[in-house]
């Protein structure tokens, strides 16, 4: 079977970088009086607008709109007031220096880090102050001709994120055109020389935040049925589940809380660490030691993790160390580890896994889950009609029909049948007995073959006659380390239980009356044919009774209950049935 190293990723689709788009920055439909000089060179005498016409002037770092005195100036997008200047005369005139040449002005900073400038406004009209948040369309003041101005108008400028200057190198033209950019940053650019559209950008536009989950160190051992494409763990195996939040919103996000649920009682979280890649490499983040987060060794089945703020572009991940406990295949419990974002300040809020977010400015629900099955490599119970309950056992070589029959286990039919174990079968060194429960109309002669490699290459075999019911087939230590088994016979039967018994056989011959212990001829592949059926010996040291007889079954009354009890002791767990 082809092994798949699992790195399953559930990705919330990206929804685009959150660039601020702008609406008409004034009320009314006044047109353009001068565009941005898109050649971006001051003093060269060249004036070129976005449409490659000359409706600009040399070095102009914004767009001028012909607003009459007293027109209402509004925010072109939501943002925060960064600075203002007031008190310059309404009519500055050509060459006026007041207010640093821009007269009375308002500077806004937007969520994507860009800024906008509203200049030459009317003295005393400015209605906002630094630090104040404004919505798109909110009134900022009135237009005039303050500062350097050849007549009433509004100068609207757009400064790129991270720039420290309103000079032409730090600003940009946001029109789409042959001499400008190829995508407009106006919500509706409008016709040449006309006012841009008054419609604001949807303030609830999606933010690009995604949540991922992946599992490391597990393989897809069982590719059948409902376990297909799920990573499979073995009991006591340690692995890692990673929940990762990527902030590509174009802005910082704050107060991020990640909720987790381990919806599988057979998986236990034993440790976790919160890391960030903000410095380039993954490193432990301050959130890892937040006192509100659960103790490292007491995550429990669910909880919240405070993740703190994320810078734009930052990712954080929670690496949860988990241990698989009991087998879960076919068990009617949720076999998943889940995560969802409980909170991102102002952007997202979700109460529980599967619930609709009470607040969402992302395009998708920020929740993920990863199913994880827990298999076992030394015990199988075939009591379901579900194909996946075959747990990797499958027919081998021609003439065999094997399928699940409801309540009757794995049906194996044919004149020459062959059943093969899954590739993850791993017979421990101290295993010396095969426990086999079959249902057949007559006793059958079985041949058990094993291979020490995944690609079946016979390394030894054993022959025995099994009766209908429980069979304890003593094989000794010669097959320890086998990776695959083949069970061959020449008749129909149902296989309902198969497991390996480690250590010295633990049965009580005095009480186990329904177990058949057939004689076994073992061929280790080196001409070492021998009978392995041992005599029953009472172990004086630990009080256990050791099979060492040659008989085909124990007939002592009441032995069945004791046999079952000993099986449970020997194997620790038994698969729960559907």
């Amino acid at each position: 079977m082809k092994r798949l190293i699992f790195l399953l990723v559930f990705l919330i689709p990206a929804v685009g970088f959150a660039q601020t788009k702008h609406a008409r920055p004034y009320q009314g439909s006044f047109g353009v009086t001068a565009y941005y000089d898109t050649d971006k060179v001051k003093g060269n005498g060249s004036d070129e607008d976005y449409a490659c016409n000359a409706f600009a002037y040399d070095g102009h770092g914004g767009t001028d709109y012909g607003l009459p005195l007293g027109s209402t100036v509004i925010a072109s997008a939501a943002g925060t007031v960064n600075r203002t200047n007031d008190s310059c005369p309404d009519y500055g005139g050509l060459g006026s220096t007041c207010g640093g040449y821009l007269g009375n002005w308002v500077e806004l900073k937007h969520e994507d880090g860009t800024m906008t400038m509203y200049a030459h406004m009317k003295r005393g009209s400015i209605a906002v102050s630094p630090g104040q948040t404004v919505t798109c369309g909110q009134r900022l003041g009135q237009s005039a001709s303050s500062g350097n101005s050849s007549g009433p108008h509004l100068h609207w400028g757009n400064r790129v994120a991270g720039s420290t200057t309103w000079g032409i190198t730090g600003t940009r033209d946001i029109h789409q055109g042959g001499c400008s950019r190829n995508n407009s940053l106006w919500v509706a650019q409008g016709a040449y020389k006309a006012a841009p559209g008054a419609e604001c950008q949807d303030d609830n536009r999606p933010r690009d935040i995604d949540l991922r989950i992946n599992v490391t160190e597990l393989e897809d051992k069982l590719t059948q049925g409902s376990s297909a494409e799920r990573p499979d763990a073995l009991p006591e195996q340690t692995f890692e589940v990673r929940l990762r939040i990527n902030n590509k919103a174009g802005e910082a996000i704050r107060d991020v809380v990640l909720a987790y649920e381990i919806a599988n009682p057979n998986l236990v979280a034993v440790d976790y660490v919160i890391e960030s890649n903000v410095s380039g490499d993954w490193a432990v983040n301050d959130a890892d030691s937040d006192e509100n987060n659960p103790a490292k060794d007491a995550m429990g089945a669910s909880g919240d993790l405070t993740m703190y703020a994320f810078a734009d572009g930052e990712s954080k991940r929670v690496r949860i160390t988990m241990v698989a406990m009991e087998p879960t295949l076919g068990v009617e419990v949720e076999s998943a580890v889940r995560g969802f974002v409980r909170n991102v300040q102002g952007l997202y809020a979700q109460g529980s896994f599967g619930a609709e977010p009470s607040e969402s400015r992302t395009d998708e629900k920020l929740e993920v889950q990863q199913h994880i099955d827990v298999l076992t490599d030394d015990a199988w119970a075939f009591e379901s009609e579900e194909p996946e309950m075959a747990e990797g056992w499958a027919p081998c070589e021609g003439g065999t029909e094997a399928f699940m029959e409801a309540g009757q286990g794995l049906a194996v039919r044919g004149s020459e049948t062959c059943l093969e174990s899954p590739v993850w079968t791993d017979i421990a060194a101290d295993t010396n007995e095969l426990l086999l429960e079959i249902a057949a109309e007559q006793s059958l002669d079985f041949t058990l073959e094993w291979s020490t490699s995944e690609a079946f290459e016979p390394a030894g075999n054993a022959r025995f006659t099994a009766e209908s019911g429980r069979n304890a087939v003593y094989l000794g230590e010669g097959w320890a380390g086998a990776k695959r088994l083949r069970i061959r016979t020449s008749g129909n039967y149902h296989l309902t239980d198969l497991r390996f018994q480690p250590g010295t056989p633990i049965v009580d011959p005095g009480t186990d009356d329904d177990v058949v212990r057939p004689d076994v001829d073992v061929d280790l592949g080196e001409g070492d044919d021998k009978s392995t059926t041992p005599d029953a010996v009472y172990n004086q040291e630990d009080g256990r009774m050791v099979i060492s007889g040659t008989g085909g079954g124990c007939n002592a009354a009441g032995a069945g209950a004791s046999w079952m009890a000993l099986l449970l002791v020997a194997f620790g767990v038994r698969r729960r049935r559907e």
Binding site: S87, G95, T97, G99, G100, H120, S145, G170
Partner: protein
């Protein structure tokens, strides 16, 4: 003049005028804008530096550019486009349209870049603002050494500086807490807000400091403020 240019000139609402207008206070600077010919400087011996203000698009904020057509003896600048120009001895300081401040003449040099008018020259120093509007910082350059100082780097929006006659103090317009104010930086480095009853310099004509008084221009015309003795820099 073509009719369109007349319309454009009529729409210019302020200071196309130069020193000529300074000497004769105007009650309405907008009328002065109708005059396209300006005098940028007059030397002690009567030589004139002046030119024509270029027309601009109406209802925009293009820079005021003067094409020089009157030059002092020994310096040929006719046809040169400048944002401002002042005479310094036999040389001329000009701000080119790309905002480069140059000394032209016997001691030709680039003094600074990203310079905005007006220039104030006193006692071997020139004061100006430097940067990108509206983030303009007060800068003072020594004309002999070209050494430059930025006396108030934290003050970002400054305009129209006027050096004292000895070049040790400066008065300028500035945005202080979001309001346009007149600020006096005295010789000890202390600043004082000058009460000018809401008026602030806003003309391309540099304010002129004479004795204890500084004369400015704004849209309403010329006005003069007296500096209180306590703000004059008593440490001198």
């Amino acid at each position: 003049m073509k009719p369109t240019l007349l319309i454009i000139a009529a729409s210019l609402l302020a200071f196309a005028a130069g020193c000529d207008e300074v000497s004769q206070p105007s009650s309405d600077m907008r009328t002065a804008a109708l005059e396209s010919g300006v005098t940028l400087d007059v030397s002690a011996d009567g030589q004139v530096l002046g030119g024509e203000v270029e027309p601009v698009l109406p209802n925009t904020d293009a820079m005021r550019v003067v094409t020089i057509d009157r030059t002092p003896n020994g310096v040929e600048l006719n046809g040169r486009r400048v944002l401002d120009a002042r005479m310094v001895g036999n040389d001329v300081l000009v701000i080119d349209p790309d905002h480069t401040l140059r000394r032209i003449g016997q001691q030709a040099a680039v003094v600074d870049r990203d310079v905005w008018p007006p220039l104030s020259i006193e006692n071997g120093r020139v004061a100006y603002v430097k940067g990108h509007a509206p983030d303009l910082q007060l800068t003072i350059a020594d004309l002999a050494t070209l050494r430059k100082t930025v006396p108030m780097p934290s003050l970002l929006t400054v305009w129209s500086p006027a050096l004292s006659e000895d070049g040790d103090e400066v008065v300028f317009g500035a945005s202080v807490n979001g309001q346009a104010k007149i600020v006096h930086l005295d010789v000890s480095g202390e600043t004082h807000i000058i009460d000018a009853k809401g008026r602030v310099p806003s003309s391309p004509i540099a304010p002129k400091w004479q004795d204890d008084r500084v004369t400015f221009h704004d849209e309403a015309g010329e006005f003069t403020v007296a500096l209180a003795p306590s703000t004059k820099g008593g440490a001198r």
